[in-house]
Symmetry: C2
Subunit: 384 residues, 2 copies
Amino acid sequence: MKFEFRVEAHQNKARTGRLETPHGSVSTPLFMPVGTQATVKGLSNRELAEVGSQIVLGNTYHLMLRPGSERVAALGGLHGFTGWRRPWLTDSGGFQVMSLGHRRVISEEGVEFSNHLNGDRILLTPERSIEVQQELGADIIMAFDECPPYPAGRDYLENSLERTLRWLERSLAAKSRADQALFGIAQGGVELDLRRRSTLETIKIDLPGYAIGGLAVGEPKEKMIPAVDLSTDLLPADRPRYLMGVGHPEDLVAGVALGVDMFDCVYPTRTGRFGYALVDSGRLNLSSARYKDDPEPIDPGCDCYACQNHSRAYITHLVRAGEMLGLRLLSLHNIRYLHRLMERARAAIAAGSYGDFARDFAARRWPEGEPGWFVGAMQRAEMW
Amino acid sequence: MKFEFRVEAHQNKARTGRLETPHGSVSTPLFMPVGTQATVKGLSNRELAEVGSQIVLGNTYHLMLRPGSERVAALGGLHGFTGWRRPWLTDSGGFQVMSLGHRRVISEEGVEFSNHLNGDRILLTPERSIEVQQELGADIIMAFDECPPYPAGRDYLENSLERTLRWLERSLAAKSRADQALFGIAQGGVELDLRRRSTLETIKIDLPGYAIGGLAVGEPKEKMIPAVDLSTDLLPADRPRYLMGVGHPEDLVAGVALGVDMFDCVYPTRTGRFGYALVDSGRLNLSSARYKDDPEPIDPGCDCYACQNHSRAYITHLVRAGEMLGLRLLSLHNIRYLHRLMERARAAIAAGSYGDFARDFAARRWPEGEPGWFVGAMQRAEMW
């Protein structure tokens, strides 16, 4: 009951639904902003709620190092520690160990690495990842997996996905809290037979949700889309599907068409800190002199605090002057942009007009013509 | 009528009142947060309003360099450009030219200097300062003055204050907008005879307000207090008195006792960015490990967003992790702290209990015994 997922409407593979968690229910498909260090960079909880964030992702790797999961547990878990009392999801640390840890040694036991803060050697195992995630107390926790780089050889991918399956068993065995949902993660890179095998083996374990891992790590979209399409063909229809690390607007629109329910990415906040604003046509570079005198908001159609109150000229001034408020306003707008995109996607699915929504999105995004991979994704979804 | 100042209550030299401006009226005594680059570092306009900011200070020196006052004028002045549609005050640039300009040449004409952004030579004169301030469009603008360093010889101080008087005449002559109030600035360092002469000459010019300049530049409090006391003895009772650059809580409490109405300082935001929180006992260093597990808010008696929603432990985590939100929460709390202090001061004056308020403040601030300068200030105000 606690983690019940109900699909409320679908259009071909695309679907919209609701997922119950101990800290409230969320509407899917949805985008999760990333609160790496127990804060979504630049936003307060109030702002997060106002832009429509439903669930926030915390990073196990960062939080186990600082402030430490035992400390977070003593201060009420992520909900109490941060004051974000709506749903949280934590990743397993597997991805960051690979991207941020130094001198990694991967074994059957787990991954030993030197952490990026003080270089201390740390052994992260499925058992330890779950222990940390139980202390952090998120509503949804992730099985400890190995996320291979791209490109990786078939042998590497095969060994890795088999190990990830064994680690999933160990993750599940280590889990003792009933108020957290454990999601399994399928791997296999963009080798479709390996992706199939990993997915089929993963779903043999009955879990409240499943993630599509190991994508958006540098592979071309032409390879990512078939892997997503295959995954959503295989994953059970009555469980939420989470495409990890994906957050470009066009990827969300394509992913939703193919039946993905959840996404996360640092993209909106990171690109905001670099001075970029997400708009239907792509990104505006507000550190550019061209907006110095522009009295328009970032996006006249946007309902966020930045667009309702400030001009491009002002935000450009803030960004060029290195003022914190500029990065705040851009991060806030960008997260709102992705949430609005998902709100529109949910409404379109419910109305059976997702194809029109995607065509309209593509026409604004690529006035010169949409790229083949996007058309391919929509054709796979039989909505183009 | 537009800049009418009414003293509503007074207790000895201390007074509380209201100042009308074209963008609304403000209650005095008050603290003005500093929006150096057209933003109070770390706070949105909504947050500024919520913490009780009534009027924000903008820096002419910074804004003339970036984004440029012509641009600000074209975008609606500071009110339109920033969206802070309540009162603004701009300084004259005189102080920043001395603190930030390089290779200064001071002449009767003005000050020529190399700006800190790109090194270009700029000549700032009374006429140019007023022109820039008229373009920025603040409700209150300041005469162009020379702020001598501390210590400075008597000859320097004397020449400087005479020049500042001539620059005041030129500032007034250059002013053409009727919807801005020009405040004159008295100088004289901590040489009381020079301070007296400067103040008496300044008030010969009938202006809607007067500032006490050239203090809080490094002199001991024992020298600052008599200079403030003398100034408020001489300044007309029916005009607002602005003690420039002063913002430590104890200086505000002493200054109000001596009849000061307005203060400004970067202190609350700057010390916030260094990880400090203002509290009655002084400052908490929230970058310190000692607060890592502290579940209490910064100040259980504070009504700000940070204190209502977050623990010291969480803010300490944010500060130590270098997260923007930590600096935001501290800046917000610190500005709220000074506004609350002034709210309590206004209420105490109205109730005739300012002496008790100051004693209570001192007992919390200095449990081991208050310093002589503070007692001296309160004795001068005949409230100790």
